[in-house]
């Protein structure tokens, strides 16, 4: 078969990509505080320890508040931007979109310090609110990328048809556009949620005393005996992420199919 070499290479590459994640559950259930082979027995104690750690539970609560707020805010900003770029031609479009998409390539630490400096200068106190500010900024380009493809597969004449049949622009948005892009909106919400849930640097700089989950995890890395617990936590997070992404991907594809478009690939 042609491309056999490529296929073997691709499988090796997937192994490289998945190897670290595959180790997570192995050591999460391993009955030893040392992370090394050979394994020493099965245990679920690391998982049960998670539920007793109050600072962890607090961090989870902070992270959830941040992630939910960010997913809603970033998706709203994404809807505005995606609608504007796919539907209208206007001056400075490229420049403005370039600025909005800039966080995709800007190192997070630069965003974190610049926001920190300004907030400190204004005398604002750091909390999960300031984390929400930063996370919304970095999640928005991703939501735009997803929503763009949802809005792009909308035929402009569908809107015109609705207007032509007597609907106002507002009711057209509700009756035609919203139902057709809804799958994109859902997948955008989920993606923004997982980006925020996972983000460390901005959270570390801007959370003050209200640590989010990644900030908590990073702090635990200093304690070697905490490693198995982190493994257990990581296993849960990975499962959660995969579930969220699968749902997001499902909705993204359904959205494209619903609007009669053609699937052109992944999230980015």
């Amino acid at each position: 078969m042609r491309g056999r070499g490529f296929q073997i290479y691709a499988i090796c590459y997937l192994i490289f990509l998945y190897a670290p994640i595959a180790l997570l559950p192995i050591f999460a259930f391993n009955n030893s505080t040392v992370i090394s082979f050979p394994l020493s027995g099965f245990t679920t104690q690391w998982f049960s320890q998670l539920w007793t750690d109050t600072s962890l539970l607090l961090a989870v609560k902070h992270s959830l508040i941040v992630a939910v707020s960010v997913s809603i805010l970033a998706t709203c900003f994404g809807v505005f931007a995606a609608r504007a770029t796919t539907r209208y031609a206007f001056p400075m479009k490229q420049g403005l979109m370039g600025m909005i998409m800039l966080p995709l390539v800007l190192p997070d630490i630069i965003i974190a310090v610049s926001l920190l400096v300004v907030l400190m200068q204004m005398g604002a106190s750091l909390s999960i609110l300031t984390v929400i500010l930063g996370h919304t900024l970095i999640a928005t380009p991703f939501t735009i990328a997803i929503l763009n493809s949802a809005f792009q597969s909308l035929d402009k004449s569908l809107e015109e048809a609705a207007i032509d049949l007597g609907e106002t622009p507002a009711s057209t948005f509700r009756l035609i556009i919203l139902p057709l892009v809804m799958p994109g909106i859902i997948s955008s919400l989920l993606i923004a949620f997982s980006i925020s849930l996972d983000e460390y640097i901005i959270a570390a700089f801007l959370s003050g005393t209200e640590a989010t989950l990644p900030v908590y995890i990073f702090a635990q890395f200093r304690f070697p005996n905490k490693v198995p617990v982190i493994m257990a936590l990581g296993t849960i997070l990975v499962c959660l992420s995969i579930a969220l992404l699968t749902i997001a991907e499902y909705f993204r594809r359904r959205g494209i199919a619903k609007a009669g478009g053609k699937d052109t690939g992944g999230f980015l």
Binding site: D155, S157, L158, E160, A161, A162, I163, D164, L165, G166, E167, T168, L175, I176, P179, L180, K258, A259, G260
Partner: protein, 377 residues
């Protein structure tokens, strides 16, 4: 809508009045001072090559584009501040714009949402509209499961159910295959007579426009070059450009010797002749001009054929002949003319196709000629 007036009265009244309508984007003019009337109940076509402004004009009437200058009135009411959703027009889109998330029924009934009538009444009207376009029993189908022709019918039903004063059709048949297109052409024509609504059709297909329309506006570069019935448009095109766009026309260089009720001409290959002033759709001028005729207005004569009683005869050589079954297409070089002229002949039993290189006589009738006095270039 209100009950329609008697047909005679309806034909007389302009339904849409366009007065110096302009549309420009920056310094690009899509429409230049278009002034015309579209009558109540007529099948009106906008015909032209792509980029001529025909779709822009349609979208201006629908209200999807604001006009940059001039006035547009429908039913005597100025449309300047009337948005698309408040205009008595409905549109069949080129892509049909069938809402993919709704069923056929929901698509057809979409415009009835704001109608105060009862649910049963609406359902009945949807069923009637579907029956009218030949989609009885398709109501519960998902829109994305329809074929091209069916989508077209849904789009029609959806627009007609609102009983608009004007139905706008934006190249509605261009996405269909040839057979389906021909079928829909005759169905659309019948439907228009049946409902009596004014149809405005945008098309780049001259044959389609000729078949379907009461009147055709031929557009070039944002202007209406000629507005006429299909027959006049074909027989008396106003310019060489219109003539070339509609069907095939042969041109011969000519000299206008004198003007008046009778125009005296010297036509290359045909000799000195006189034609009626009516045969010059523009303004006759003496000097250089050209004369046009359609391929079917000339006859290739066989040896032994008698001279025609009314027409005249010219000499020529068959350069090329293409056999089409029912028809034969000849390219004949007339004496003294460089470019061969095209002549189409109906094939008749007992008269074989003339071979290439045959010397032949061409019978023609002065009444079939059209004189173009426009300056060259």
């Amino acid at each position: 809508m209100t009950s329609s007036p008697a047909p005679a009265a309806r034909l007389a009244r302009p339904l849409i009045e366009l007065r110096e309508v302009e549309k420009y984007y920056g310094d690009y003019y899509a429409l230049r001072k278009i002034t015309t009337d579209i009558r109540e109940g007529e099948f009106f076509s906008l015909l032209g090559p792509s980029g001529c402004g025909k779709t822009t004009l349609l979208r201006c009437i629908a209200g999807f584009e604001d006009i940059s200058g001039g006035h547009l009135a429908i039913d005597g009411k100025d449309m300047e501040d009337v948005p698309a959703n408040k205009r008595p027009t409905n549109m069949v889109f080129q892509s049909y714009a069938i809402f993919p998330h709704l069923t056929v029924e929901e698509n057809v009934g979409f415009g009835l949402r704001r109608d105060p009538s009862s649910k049963e009444d609406k359902a009945r009207r949807v069923a009637e509209a579907l029956e009218m376009v030949g989609l009885k029993g398709f109501g519960k189908r998902a829109a994305h499961a329809l074929s091209g022709g069916q989508r077209q019918r849904v789009a029609l039903a959806r627009a007609l159910i609102l009983k608009p004063r004007v139905l706008l059709l934006d190249e509605p048949l261009s996405a269909l295959d040839k057979k389906m297109r021909e079928q829909m052409q005759s169905e659309l024509r019948k439907l228009q007579r049946q409902v009596g609504i004014t149809f405005i059709l945008v098309t780049h297909d001259q044959e389609e426009a000729l078949i379907m329309s009461d009147r055709i506006a031929v557009m070039f570069e944002g202007e209406i070059a000629q507005l006429d019935s299909p027959e006049r448009l074909y027989r008396r095109p106003i310019s060489r450009k219109v003539a070339e766009f509609i069907g095939i026309m042969n041109f011969l260089p000519a000299q206008v010797l004198s003007t008046g009720p009778q125009i005296a001409l010297d036509v290359a290959g045909l000799g000195q002749i006189g034609i009626d002033a009516e045969q010059c759709p523009g303004t006759p001028r003496t000097g250089e001009a050209s004369v046009g005729f359609r391929p079917e207005t000339m006859t290739v004569l066989y040896d032994g054929d008698p001279e025609p009683t009314r027409g005249k005869v010219a000499q020529g050589t068959v350069e090329e002949v293409v056999y089409f079954g029912d028809m034969s297409y000849y390219e004949v070089r007339l004496e003294g003319v460089e470019k061969p002229v095209q002549i189409s002949m109906r094939n008749v039993v007992g008269r074989p196709v003339l071979p290439r290189g045959s010397r032949t006589r061409i019978a023609w009738e002065a009444g079939a000629l059209v004189l173009f006095c426009e300056p060259k270039g």
